[in-house]
């Protein structure tokens, strides 16, 4: 399987795809905006004085509803894909998923606690609730990942295999707890719980975007600095050590990046599967496994794919909206099987 595309062409294509996905995601919805209006309204948002009542309405839709949602989708997609690359590198397995270290299930557990706990306390203050939910999800993700990491450590060494198994065990445990909450929840709580567990960009706001954007920027700037180390790590941990890399420190950084990135993504948009698994895999098929190309390309591809998946979630049953996790799984799982079968042939 030699690279199909030169890195430069791939970046160009992915850049165009992202621009297209962003435009579609801004323009399409219950009220479709023509391209010209979308562009002009975007310019107005940036402070260019353009007149017209029609544009005023377009600016409102764009600025208040579509833009935060599109930016949230873009960021969630990018950070999930980046963390997917990090985990596949850490576990030296192209089929690893960013949820393996327990961060997704931990975040889901944190969120479930907040939802059910909030309902049990008779509902939280309206202004306060979404932040508490996100915060609990973030803390849950970090907490479970920290536990998985600790369980994987022995004599100052981190065993990736033990971490993997600990991640599976804790994911099952968190699943059981969430199941219990689901069983005990009343109808309204159940609906929130389910919707949140399947992921959604609905309810995107700038307030929800900023923390995630900061975390994503940090991850996106940090991981490429470790691209060479990630390449060496694919050879094996001893081999990476013999090549002069501080393997323990790098493993710690990768787990931390993933816990922060996926934790923040789940906190902002719920559980969205398959992006972190499929995107790096797909990009690797196109340009090979070199992390210097793989990391930025996966970020671009993940952002585009999540925007398109969100578009499908919004438009498929309009005016109703599907949880985006259903769309990514519906598209991702068969595609993944196709990749597997093709790889075997």
């Amino acid at each position: 399987m030699n690279p199909v595309i030169q890195p430069r062409s791939l970046f160009l294509a992915l850049g165009l795809l992202l621009a297209l996905a962003l435009w579609l995601s801004l323009a399409l919805g219950p009220v479709s905006l023509p391209l010209a209006d979308t562009l002009q309204a975007a310019l107005r948002l940036l402070g260019v004085p353009l007149g017209g009542a029609r544009l005023e309405q377009a600016e409102l839709i764009l600025g208040q509803i579509r833009l935060p949602r599109s930016l949230l989708g873009l960021t969630v997609g990018a950070v999930l894909a980046l963390c997917g690359v990090a985990m596949q590198g850490l576990f030296r397995n192209p089929l690893a998923d960013p949820g393996l270290v327990g961060v997704s299930s931990g975040a889901a557990l944190g969120a479930a606690l907040a939802i059910v706990g909030g309902a049990a306390l008779g509902g939280l203050p309206e202004v306060f609730a979404p932040y508490l939910l996100s915060l609990c999800a973030f803390i849950g993700g970090l907490g479970v990942t920290a536990l998985v990491y600790r369980l994987g450590r022995r004599d100052g060494q981190t065993s990736v295999a033990t971490m993997l198994l600990a991640g599976i065990a804790l994911t099952a445990l968190a699943g059981a707890a969430i199941g219990l909450f689901t069983y005990l929840a009343d109808d309204a709580t159940l609906r929130t719980l389910t919707f949140w567990n399947l992921g959604s960009l609905n309810g995107a706001s700038y307030a929800r975007l900023w923390p995630l954007l900061l975390v994503t920027l940090a991850v996106a700037l940090w991981l490429p600095r470790r691209a060479r180390a990630l390449n060496a790590l694919l050879l094996g941990e001893s081999e990476a050590r013999h090549l002069g890399f501080g393997v323990e420190r790098i493993k710690r950084e990768l787990v931390l990046c993933t816990a922060l990135g996926v934790g923040a993504a789940v906190a902002a948009a719920g559980m969205i599967g398959f992006i972190g698994l499929v995107v790096p895999h797909l990009v690797r098929l196109l340009v090979g496994p070199d992390h210097r190309v793989l990391l930025p390309a996966s970020a671009l591809a993940g952002a585009s794919l999540l925007l398109l998946a969100d578009l499908a979630a919004r438009l498929a049953l309009a005016p109703a909206e599907l949880p985006i996790g259903i769309v990514t799984a519906l598209l991702g799982a068969p595609f993944f099987l196709y990749l597997l079968l093709r790889g075997r042939a």
Binding site: M1, P94, L234, L243, G288
Partner: protein
């Protein structure tokens, strides 16, 4: 140079390696022999800093090996493990180029070195192919090229540790690999190689270390070590030792 001083390694309550005093000399190939579980790979692990010793010390030049910063150490000391777990579709030259990661010699120079190292490991024809499409023996040669590239061109002060580099190779490539190793040592590097084939050891090594249950049983020239008594004592194998009719080194035949 790399020197082990009264080295011992503990695993659980047991000393799996002890009483190792050893110096790798520039330009010399040192072979390590011994039955399964004699501590050969443990010795290699301790010599490269992967295993921390329970007693004793490993020195690189006049500094303890553990005190060397990672990349500086990697510019001096390369290790070829028994097998690799690489499971990603790198191209062959990308795998070999990873040997250049500790260096900052530039893309152009690295490209030349990768080509030279591939040629030295008799793997130049594999360039351009996906690593995953290679056979076990071909992969082993690609990794040999990788560790050669890490130290290329090789010289006094550099150390190469090889753990059974011939285990998956056909007879011809067992010889070409050890010839390449010898040629590399002749540039000045010190080489330690773990081998199972006594005749390959007799032919290509300057000195041999015979390990038994984690202790050195004999250390010396092939003529001194490859005699019937020590081989019987360590391997429990009755052998006849002849002379190679053309080259004169010991030739070992099981009785």
């Amino acid at each position: 140079m790399l020197r082990a001083e009264n080295l011992a390694v503990q695993r659980g309550p047991q000393l799996v390696l002890a009483d190792i005093d050893l110096e790798l000399r520039p330009g010399e190939v040192l072979g390590v022999l011994g039955p399964n579980g004699a501590g050969k790979s443990t010795l290699l692990g301790a010599l490269c800093g992967e295993l921390s010793p329970a007693r004793g010390q490993v020195w690189l030049d006049r500094r303890p090996l553990a005190d060397w910063p990672g990349s500086e150490r990697a510019q001096r000391l390369a290790v070829l493990p028994q097998s690799s777990t690489l499971n990603f579709a790198f191209r062959v030259e990308e795998v070999v180029a990873m040997g250049r990661l500790p260096h900052a010699s530039g893309r152009l120079r690295d490209g030349e070195i990768v080509a030279a190292a591939l040629a030295a490991a008799d793997a130049a024809h594999l360039a351009g192919r996906s690593y995953l499409a290679l056979s076990g023996g071909e992969r082993q040669r690609v990794h040999l090229a990788r560790v050669l590239a890490q130290l290329w061109p090789g010289g006094a002060g550099q150390i190469l540790l090889l753990d059974e580099p011939t285990s998956m190779l056909d007879p011809l490539h067992q010889h070409t690999t050890l010839q390449a190793t010898r040629a590399f040592a002749e540039q000045g590097a010190a080489v330690l190689v773990i081998l199972h084939d006594l005749n390959l050891a007799a032919r290509y090594c300057d000195r041999l270390l015979l390990l038994q249950r984690g202790r050195p049983h004999a250390l010396g020239s092939p003529e001194q070590v490859l005699r019937a008594e020590p081989l019987q004592a360590v391997f429990g194998l009755e052998v006849l030792v002849q002379r190679h009719p053309e080259r004169g080194h010991p030739l070992i035949v099981a009785r």
